[in-house]
Structure formats: structure tokens, C-alpha cells
């Protein structure tokens, strides 16, 4: 289609001024709509439109210029002389002095002062008022209030900030901190998120901590995928191992630059982010053979079920614990809340996993042995922190109450015995308290627990920041703790003396406490076992009875009795059924006021409940009974009569 308009103009009129005049609309061309084209298009439904109805706001950050402080000394030379007196001239100064002496007040004042002074002098001469009178009594430790203060803050250098996932102190007197940042939200891919992690330099001068430069990291690690956990090699202050978000494991050397020295091959690496990596005491120094990074030297698939091991059944491991003095054993905490104690030297996977503890309702976030009592360890997960003893498998020996906020990490206060530094002949008595452990919460509070002081609550809670705290690492000297939060900031917190200095009685008291709690647990365990045995004896007895009296079809544990009622043969199911009805009765009763009936029922029921649980635990893998609860809906209602019969027997 071509719209053109032709007009004529005389040559003599070229360049003439144009005179415009109004003209009405003129139809030049028109096109009819062609409905056939509609078929090439479809109506877009839904159409997303965004609108913004908000006042325009702008965000500004402001930081005042930092004042530079310089320490300087000032020399006090004679000052105070009035202007007319020349200090160098002795005559003049003498004259001035004499003038002052002549002053009226001088005489009086000096006499007064001298009188007081003489008293004190004579006092001093008579007896040394500051001497220690009782030499056999040790100075009582001051009842100092526990306190903590934040010494330093390290920010995540990249934007957007990522949460801190792991912190590790370097082994050379702990002057460096390695912090790894990673956003662990499942399959989140925030664009522009940096993959870097940082090493910060922290200087230590006597008992003060001065940071060389809290604004720039000493060293940056630049991997391809973000690092989830990062550990220093305890023997070599320059090398680190890290677990990445994509499952690979890398070894770094801080002297060699920003790239990993060795990286594991993807085919042999894990399939999920590596949560925890540790160095172990072996010849090559790592659990992965550094000479050929193609595969790990040992793989242990965490599968608890006794059937064949397969990767599909494997439980995710969420944290690892390894104690260098017990080289063949290590412990793993799983995402399902169980803790498995493993033996490296076992031949079959079953042998390798020696004990299992059912620890928490959620993933086990922290797992650490007490540095002085190797048989006891601390686990942190869901809303509690628990202390376990290896001898008691059924439950923890001590535990905290359920908190309001999720606990994210925990650690014991490390112990360092007397530490002679032969070069300077200085003895550092830096002992830390054995009974102290720390936990971090998701509401930004760092709790310090001292089980010798109080078991019910933390002896000190420090609000470090508003964001949830993600991880925690104690400094070897015991007074400092590094905590990292969700925003990527790491705080160094220093504690007061009484939380880090050890008392002579501590070890004894703590041993006594642990023993007492373990004994208590063992007694409970024994009692539970007794009850279980009795129950089993009873149930096998009852099973026999039922078999004798029953007729009719038997299929899968259900059979018809003479009454025509359908019954389960398995005692567990029968009991559970009875209990179910009891519960329902109780619920209906709960709407009515009387409470005594409920209480009685409850007691009886609790006992039954325990027995039921113990029973099912003992028989779970091989049990052929279908899970009792959902099946009941389909079966005929029993009524309380059955429950009554049960109790008699």
C-alpha cells in the first residue's frame, strides 16, 4: 500500500514562504479489517501487569569519616611558671619560691598537711598494712559477674551478602580466621552472588586482640562454586580444605594464590552440598588422598536399615566429628536427627557403624566431644542441646529445655593445659573451663551454659545481633568466640575471666556429674528393658491363646473369631487399637468437666503407651503388622469391651 500525494508547483514559486490554512479531514485510504488474520493470534490470558502505588523512597548509607587515632606521649617540662619568671634563671625561680613561701596560707596549710602525713608515715613504719596476713589461705576467686563483649566485626565483602556457613581458626596460635559464605537455600540462584570466601588476619598481643585490618580480608578464596565449609589443617597453617556447594572437595594453599590447589573430580564427589569436612590424623593428612584427587580413599554410605546398602537410602550427613586422639573412630550427625558412631577400621559397612543414637527431631547441627571427657559429647539440633555419654544409647544424659528459637550451632569451651613457651620462659596458664559450652540461636543470641553453675538455663546470654546466628567457633585460648550470622557478618566475642579460668575442683565436680547422670540413664534403660521383656512374655502368651481359640480365615494377621468379629492377631495392633479407643473416650470426656476420671485413665494409658512404644521399637524392621492407626478407620468398631478384656489379661 502506498500513500502518496502529488502536487504541482511553479518553478517561480520555489522558495516561497508557506502559507498554511485549515483544511478539514480528508480520507486518503481505508483498509477493511480481515477477520482471517485473527486465526494467527490467540488471546493472552492471563496478562500480568505490575503497578506500584507507593511513595517514592530512596535509601542512603552514611558513614561518618573515621577519626584516626594516634597514640602520642607528652613530655612535661617545667610548666606553670608565670610569664615573667625565666625558668632557666635560678635566681628568679628561687625568688619566686621564696615569695610563695612568705604567703600567709602557706604556713598554715603545710602544717596541716604535715600532721596528716606524719600519721601515715608512722603507720607505715610500724606495720606493713598491705602484707598478706594469711599465707595458707588461697585468695578466694572473686564472684565476678559473667560478661561478654564484642571485640570485632567482620563483614561479608561481597554484595549481596550471603550467610556465614563455617568458621575455622588457623592453627598457628590462632591468628587467622577463615570464614566461608554460602547461601544454602535449596536450589536458589541469586544472580551476581559471589562465590568467594575470606581469610581474616587477627593479631594477638598478650591478652588483647587487635585486628590488623578489620575492613579488608587477608586473603580471598575464589572457587567456582561457593564454599559451604572450610577447615584449616591443624598441622599446616597454610593449607585448608573446603567442601563446595556442588559436592566437590578442594584443597587450598594460601601461599599459592586464589585458586584451589586440587579439586576432586565431579563424578566421584558427593551429590549434595558438602556440609562438613575435617582433617584426620593419617599419613597423607586428609581423608581424601591428595596424591590422586580422583576419588576419596574411603566412602561410607550412611544407611541405617539393615538391608542392602544403596545410595538411595543413604541419610544425609549434616556434621562430622573427629577427635585426633582416637584415630580410628569418628562420629557423624545426620539430617534425620540420628548420630552414628563409626569405626574406620570395620570391614563391612555394618561393622563400621557401631552405635546409633536417636538425637533430635531435626538435623543434627553440631556435634562435638568434650575435650576433657572424651566419652561425653554435645549435640545441638532443633530446639535443644543435649549431652550424651557413649555408654548410654537410649537417651542423652543431660539436656536443655526446649527453647523458643531454633538452636543453630554449639561448641564446648576448649581446654588448653599449661603451655610453656621455652624461648621466653613464660608460662601461659590459659586453662578454660571444662563445663562451659556455647550455643547460638536463630534469634541472634549467643548462650553460654555452665553446667556446674546452673543446669536449667544458660548462665549468660549475649545478644550479638538481630539476625539469626548461623555458626560458632571457639578460639583455642578459650576466651574468644567467633559467631557468624545470616547476613554474612562475623562477630568476635570475648568473655569475662570467670568463664574462661578453670578452678581446681572443676574436673572432679564435672566427672561426678557426668557419672551421676550416666548412672541414672543406665538405671532407666535397665528398667525399660525389664518392662519390655515382661511385655513380650505376656504378648507371646496371649498370642498362643488366641491361636487356639480362633477359627475362620487367617490372612495377614487378621482373623475372624467365633463372635464373627474381625480381630488382629498381632498383639501390638490390638493394644494400639485399645488405646486408640481410650483416647477417643478421653476426648469426649474432656468436653465434660470431671478431671479425676481422666487422670486415672491417663496414668494407665501412659504406661501402656510406653510399653507400646518399646514394643514397636524392638520389632520394627521385621514387623509384618501394618501400621495400626490408619487401618482402624476401615474396620468395625470394637467398643470399650475389648479394651476392658485387654486390661484384665
Amino acid at each position: 500500500m502506498d500513500v502518496t500525494y502529488a502536487y504541482q508547483k511553479k518553478r517561480s514559486e520555489f522558495g516561497k514562504q508557506c502559507l498554511f490554512s485549515d483544511k478539514g479531514p480528508e480520507l486518503i485510504d481505508n483498509f477493511a479489517s480481515n477477520k482471517k488474520f485473527l486465526h494467527n493470534y490467540i488471546i493472552k490470558d492471563p496478562v500480568s501487569r505490575t503497578t506500584l502505588c507507593a511513595p517514592i523512597q530512596a535509601e542512603h548509607h552514611l558513614n561518618t569519616t573515621r577519626a584516626e587515632y594516634v597514640n602520642g606521649a607528652m613530655n612535661h617540662v617545667e610548666g606553670g611558671w608565670p610569664k615573667d619568671v625565666n625558668t632557666a634563671d635560678e635566681e628568679q625561680t628561687k625568688r619566686y619560691r621564696r615569695k610563695v613561701e612568705k604567703d600567709e596560707g602557706f604556713h598554715h596549710t603545710v602544717m596541716q598537711l604535715c600532721r596528716n602525713m606524719e600519721n601515715c608515715i608512722l603507720q607505715n613504719n610500724a606495720i606493713n598494712i598491705y602484707q598478706q596476713y594469711f599465707s595458707d589461705v588461697e585468695p578466694t576467686p572473686l564472684v565476678e559477674r559473667s560478661s561478654a563483649r564484642t571485640v570485632n566485626v567482620y563483614q561479608d565483602q561481597s554484595i549481596p551478602t550471603r550467610p556465614v556457613t563455617h568458621i575455622s581458626w588457623s592453627p598457628d596460635n590462632q591468628t587467622k580466621l577463615a570464614i566461608s559464605h554460602c547461601d544454602l537455600t535449596f536450589q536458589a540462584k541469586v544472580p551476581d552472588q559471589s562465590t568467594r570466601s575470606y581469610i581474616w588476619q587477627v593479631e594477638r598481643i598478650s591478652s588483647f586482640l587487635i585486628s590488623e585490618n578489620p575492613n579488608t580480608p587477608l586473603h580471598t578464596l575464589r572457587p567456582e562454586h561457593p564454599i559451604v565449609c572450610l577447615e584449616y589443617n591443624q598441622k599446616d597453617p597454610n593449607s585448608l580444605v573446603s567442601g563446595q556447594f556442588n559436592g566437590q572437595v578442594a584443597v587450598w594453599d594460601t601461599r599459592k594464590g586464589h585458586e584451589p590447589v586440587e579439586l576432586s573430580v565431579i563424578e566421584n564427589s558427593y551429590r549434595d552440598p558438602v556440609h562438613n569436612v575435617l582433617w584426620i590424623n593419617s599419613k597423607s593428612g586428609t581423608e581424601w588422598d591428595t596424591r590422586k584427587m580422583s576419588e576419596p580413599t574411603e566412602t561410607l554410605i550412611l544407611d541405617i536399615s539393615k538391608e542392602d546398602q544403596s545410595m538411595s537410602n543413604a541419610l544425609g550427613a549434616s556434621c562430622l566429628e573427629y577427635e585426633t586422639t582416637i584415630p580410628t573412630r569418628f562420629m557423624v550427625g545426620t539430617e534425620q536427627g540420628k548420630v552414628i558412631s563409626c569405626n574406620r577400621k570395620g570391614k563391612t559397612p555394618m561393622e563400621k557403624m557401631t552405635f546409633k543414637f536417636s538425637a533430635h527431631f531435626g538435623p543434627v547441627l553440631a556435634l562435638q566431644r568434650n575435650p576433657a571427657f572424651l566419652k561425653n559429647f554435645l549435640t545441638v539440633g532443633d530446639w535443644t542441646a543435649r549431652i550424651w555419654s557413649e555408654d548410654c544409647r537410649e537417651s542423652s544424659i543431660m539436656w536443655t529445655s526446649f527453647h523458643r528459637a531454633l538452636l543453630t550451632d554449639g561448641a564446648w569451651s576448649p581446654t588448653r593445659f599449661t603451655y610453656p613457651n621455652l624461648l621466653y620462659r613464660i608460662f601461659y596458664h590459659v586453662l578454660s573451663r571444662l563445663s562451659v559450652f556455647f550455643t547460638t540461636r536463630s534469634d541472634g543470641i549467643l548462650d553460654v551454659w555452665d553446667i556446674l553453675q546452673q543446669q536449667k538455663q544458660a548462665c549468660l546470654g549475649v545478644k550479638v545481633c538481630d539476625e539469626p546466628l548461623r555458626c560458632l567457633r571457639t578460639h583455642e585460648m578459650g576466651r574468644l568466640v567467633a559467631v557468624g550470622n545470616q547476613k554474612g557478618t562475623t562477630y568476635l566475642v570475648e568473655f569475662s575471666e570467670n568463664l574462661s579460668m578453670i578452678n581446681k575442683n572443676d574436673k572432679m565436680l564435672l566427672t561426678a556429674m557426668f557419672e551421676r547422670e550416666s548412672k541414672r540413664e543406665k538405671i532407666l534403660e535397665a528398667r525399660n528393658r525389664e518392662i519390655r521383656l515382661k511385655q513380650r512374655a505376656k504378648s507371646s502368651h496371649m498370642n498362643l491363646n488366641m491361636d487356639e481359640g480362633g477359627e475362620g480365615e487367617v490372612y495377614q494377621g487378621i482373623k475372624k473369631s467365633e463372635d464373627g468379629e474381625i480381630m488382629f492377631t498381632d498383639n501390638n495392633v490390638v493394644q494400639a487399637e485399645a488405646e486408640f479407643y481410650l483416647c477417643i473416650e478421653q476426648e469426649t470426656k474432656a468436653n465434660l468437666p470431671p478431671e479425676e476420671a481422666e487422670e486415672e485413665e491417663e496414668e494407665g494409658e501412659d504406661l501402656q503407651h510406653d510399653q507400646l512404644l518399646d514394643d514397636t521399637e524392638g520389632e520394627s524392621p521385621g514387623s509384618s503388622a501394618p501400621s495400626p492407626e490408619p487401618d482402624k478407620d476401615g474396620k468395625k468398631k470394637k467398643g470399650k469391651g475389648k479394651g476392658g478384656k485387654q486390661k484384665e489379661k
Partner: protein, 96 residues
């Protein structure tokens, strides 16, 4: 003034006393039994310390005032008797 001299001499003669200094409010040592450098040092340092101590006491309780200040160190004890206009400083070493 004679009395003053006598008293000062008496103080100086007590057992263990190393030196005595009288300093005025501007920090100028008026009378002293020590050498010049030491005197000047003591005068400057102690004046400011005594002032600070006094302000501490008065800050805690305005109706209170500093009467005496004793600084015990490993080697000596420095005793300071402050006043509005003058400060008397005596340095004594312990007798045991």
C-alpha cells in the same frame, strides 16, 4: 617559716622516707628534698593524678572531698596530701 622548715626536716628524718615535695596549685615545686629532675617529674605527674582523684570522689558524691591519696608500688609508697592551694608529696620505701 621556721616551723615549716623544722616540720619538713622532721618528716624527712623518719625511717624510710626518700623525699618530700611541696607543690603549688600550678604545679611548681616550692620546697623539695630531691633533685630537680625527679622533683619536676613528681610534681607534674602527681598533681594531675591528685586532681583526677579528687574529681572522682566529688563526682560520686558532691558533698565529699579527697583527703588523702596513697599509691603503693613495689618499690615505694607515694603519699599525697592535697589541699586547695598546695600538695604535699612524700615518697617512702617500705620498712620490711
Amino acid at each position: 617559716s621556721n616551723e615549716v622548715e623544722e616540720t619538713m626536716k622532721r618528716i624527712q628524718s623518719h625511717k624510710g622516707v626518700v623525699g618530700t615535695i611541696v607543690v603549688n596549685s600550678e604545679g611548681i615545686p616550692i620546697k623539695t628534698t630531691l633533685d630537680n629532675t625527679t622533683t619536676v617529674q613528681y610534681a607534674g605527674l602527681i598533681s594531675s593524678l591528685a586532681d583526677k582523684a579528687r574529681s572522682v570522689v566529688r563526682d560520686l558524691d558532691p558533698s565529699n572531698d579527697l583527703t588523702f591519696l596513697r599509691i603503693r608500688s613495689k618499690k615505694h609508697e607515694i603519699m599525697v596530701a592535697p589541699d586547695k592551694e598546695f600538695i604535699l608529696i612524700v615518697v617512702q620505701s617500705p620498712t620490711d
